[in-house]
Amino acid sequence: MFDLPHSEQIDEELDVSPGTIQPFENGYITTWVGRRKTPYGHRLIRAGRVIGWLCEGDSATKLLGGADARKALEAAEEGSHRLVGYACSLRGLGSLATLIPEAFEFQADVQGLSSGSSLTDRLFARNISAVLSTLEGYDHVRGALAADQGILIDSAGDLPGKAEELATSISSLSDSMASHQSTLGGTEQGYATLKMGDASVLLASSSTIVIAIWTELDTNHARLLTDLTAQLDGEIGTYAEGAATLPDGFILREGKGGSDAVMSMLAASLEEQVTGHLKAGASDKAVSLAVVKGIPVAMAANGQSFDDAMMGLTESKRILKLHRLASGTTVSSSTGDVEAFSLQGFVEALSSVRTRSEKRKESMMHRLMTMYGFEIGLDLVRQQRSKVSIQIDGAEASKGLPAASPVAGVDAGLRRRLEEAELRSDSLLRTNAGLTTQLQDAEKQRTEALIRLDEIKESSGDQSVTIQSKNDELNRVQVTVSESRTRMEQAEERADRLMRRVSELEHQLSERAGELAKALGNATSSEELRNELEELASNEASTRAELESNAQKLSSVRDQIDTEERRLRALEEQITSMRERQATMQSKSNVSEEKVRAAEAKLDQIDAETIASRRRAEEERNRLAEDEARRMQLHSEMRELMTERRDILTELGNLGARRGNAETELSGLISRAEALTEAHEEAVSDIAEAERLRARLSEEPLAQALLNDDSTFRGLGPVIERLEQARTLGYSVILLDRAVERALQVVQSTVDHIAATPRNLLSSEVMTLLERQVPQTAGAVRGLARWSVQQRLENQLGETVGHLILDLEGILEDYDRSITMLRRMRNVLDQLGQLGAPPEEIDALRMNCMRPEALPSVAVETRRLIRIALDDIYLEADQRDAGEAIALEQTAGVLEELLTQIDASGLTKGVPRGSMWDFQRDGYLPFERTAIPVGQRTPVMDDMIQHIQPTLVLDESVSLDAEPAPEVITEGGWEEMPAPVDEEVAAVEEEHVSEVRRPVEEDRVDLEAELARLDAERNVRGAKSPEVKVDPHLAALENQLSELDF
């Protein structure tokens, strides 16, 4: 097992039992088993929780990840082991997670570790055809499609429709989703998952290119994308691949060269996560160090070696520039031309290239390892990771709730495959049956062929024997032929010889003839010669006969040879045809054997499939048994539900009875409702009657005018509001009510005045007559009357109402002032009470303090009381010593002040002035008094005048000695009151009220009476000094004050 990059080691003792929170945030825990020199496994920690497991499997190159690794680790940790923890940053953990995604049991734990945006970006950076062909290899991917602006780029696997049409719809869908993505709070790097029926679709897009992947329903799309990008790793086209120099970007920093400066620049680039390069120098010998998010990954040095490049990079004369390349630029280890570059080598070289001091080397190495230690470790892990494979289980499936019925946790893809396999097995079974019959036929054919082969073999044996004999015969014939040929040759030779002999003899004959001619003379010799010639001639004839016979013999031999050759050829043809037949039969038998063998193999395969089918059937039977059990359970539940149903039916019966009761009640209610309906109908008929009356009324010109003209009365709003407000204050509003009543009376009289003429004119008799005789005149009269009434109403009544409203407002203001005065009076009375005024009088006056209409009387009475108190004080002042006199003087000052206040109100001296008081005196409103002559005024009702007079309400004295009157309780709790007696009331008034103001006709008379009363009072005060009652509190206060020495 490879080691993970070492970072900050945790010295604490670690507990890795499930549910334990680790003492560090992010990192990993390595398990060392026994005395091994390599770790056995790792646990990945995120936020203190163990989220990933990785350990060795069966072999060193086969690793386990996720739940398998967890189990294996737990099993291994039962023996002797030790745990070492290392903490790292969240980003480091994210890098690890990207490198070994198989280590995580649940993909939810990985979310947020590595940047999600890179997923689709990295996917689209690759060749889309390669992506699609890789996708096709996944079990849970059904098909995939890539399109650009609706044009199909490529497709793979099974698609739900035609690829071109799907490309159009997918592109439009992606466009509309992309347009709403920002509105829905997403970013452009996101992707969409559509769950539809039994499949789900993953939609990812980059600029105009969109890729759609059809997968099984439960497929984890995030995991699919991660795995896909991991599989395609390395195919990415990188920036300035193999380039000798890197192009300039935006210069972030610039400074002098040297090792320290390089380190400082690298630290800055790491801090700012720069993707670009650090360039030393500007000439063609410039050295560039490519960095990805601050991590050096490659070097470009224009063909220099790594050591030379390092020397060049750290040369102090060169200017260092940190370039940031355009965002989205992919810089990787294949950038640049220094192939020997590695991060570890770079760190070692940078720490030692420009120094010989071990201490400095160590310190630089330490700094660089702090910066890049984790990345170096990660590089090593990356190398190791490429050498090993990690076993992965299927996609994670959520477990059902414990109480819920067990759900078959079969992945949809597997289920689909199972169904397909079952279908295939069915078809195979059918094919099997067909093949079996074919096999039997083939077997028959084979046996037939074998029989035929045997026959053929036998016949070929006969033929071969025949051939043999023919061959022998041929051989013999050939021998004969050869002998004949030799004989022929001999005969030919002899013939040649004979010919030569003949020619020789002819030559000799010619010579002999010559000799004969010479020796003609010699008869003997001619006889001899003749004999010799005859002999020669006979010889020649015999030779010729012999030659002819030989020639005949030769021709016969030749004919024989020809016939023999023909026979031989026929035999050879027979043999070849027999051989061919044998070969064809042999091949047929071979084919049959092959067929037999293939059929046997198929039969074996079918047997195996049959066994598998049987196993499946067995599983099916088990599933059926489970279903049966579930059915039984459902039956029991059903039974319970039936009992519940019975209960509910009983309840329903009860409810029915209740319903009967309710229906009875309802029928009662219905009868009541009917009665109400009748009443309602009557009321409706009444309303109709009223409507009719109103309609008739509306024919009246005055009513029409009044009904049409309501704008004049809108001015009453604020007044009415103030009147209502005055009612809420708790003070008596009799005066106001009476003023309103009076105003209405005035309005009424105005209206009566206005309506008087037309009402007389438009009396029904006159109008009927007019309408009958002169209809036009009647209409004109009616119109004129209406116009006149309307005009007068608009002008006169409006004016009157306006004045009345103003009067009411004036009265309201006086009313407000009187309330203020009453409050002050109350205060004054309270003070008087404290100063020792008679409490019964004070109480009597205080009772009247809630009645504004009694304010003048209250003021007069209060003034009288103050005056009496003052007189007493002044009288006593002479009889007291100096201290008491001073105290009394202060009291007198207070009382004088109160007196001044009452006098200032104008209520005590003469007649009080103001609209309200004028109205109280004579019952006329100011408008009437100023605008209407006395004779034309509406008479004021006496009871109204009496009602608003400023009489005081007095408390009746209750004597304890008096016998209680027998209570006569009548029906309804009402008490029968004795009938009022005029004489007794007058006596009470004479006894308690100093003065009763009676309604007067003229102001002058009133003034004279007032003056007479005042004179009388003065006389009374002068003749008899009233006995001063000393308040005990006041006396005590005075005693206390008397002891003070000023």
């Binding site: 399109a147 490529d154 935006f250």
Partner: protein
């Protein structure tokens, strides 16, 4: 760079003939057995450009010719054109691959900020 682009274009599925040429008529790279000569192709391109200008369509970027073969002439870089042709060619994938090659060319250029 253009060699790499040319080899990339040659790897495109169903692209039987590939040619790279510049605006001055220089053939930068080509496969053998092109049915049309470079001059014919340039004439086609010029004709299409004049049609585009007359219709007010703006600058001409690519020309697609669909017949027994699919042919595309695309401006792959400034002043550099790529022509592809072949039977059973797919427009989508050709377009995508041409865009990829264009991106590769653009990625190697200096970024002006």
């Amino acid at each position: 760079m253009l060699d790499s682009v040319f080899s990339g274009l040659c790897e495109i599925k169903d692209a039987r003939h590939v040619r790279l040429f510049d605006q001055f008529g220089n053939e930068l790279a080509t496969t053998k057995r092109w049915p049309e000569s470079l001059q014919e192709q340039r004439a086609e391109l010029a004709q299409c450009a004049s049609v585009a200008t007359s219709l007010g369509l703006g600058e001409l970027h690519e020309v697609w010719i669909e017949s027994r073969r699919l042919t595309v002439i695309d401006q792959i870089d400034t002043g550099v054109f790529a022509a592809l042709s072949g039977k059973n060619g797919t427009k989508g994938i050709w377009r995508y691959q041409l865009a990829r090659q264009r991106q590769r060319i653009n990625a190697t250029k200096t970024q002006v900020i």
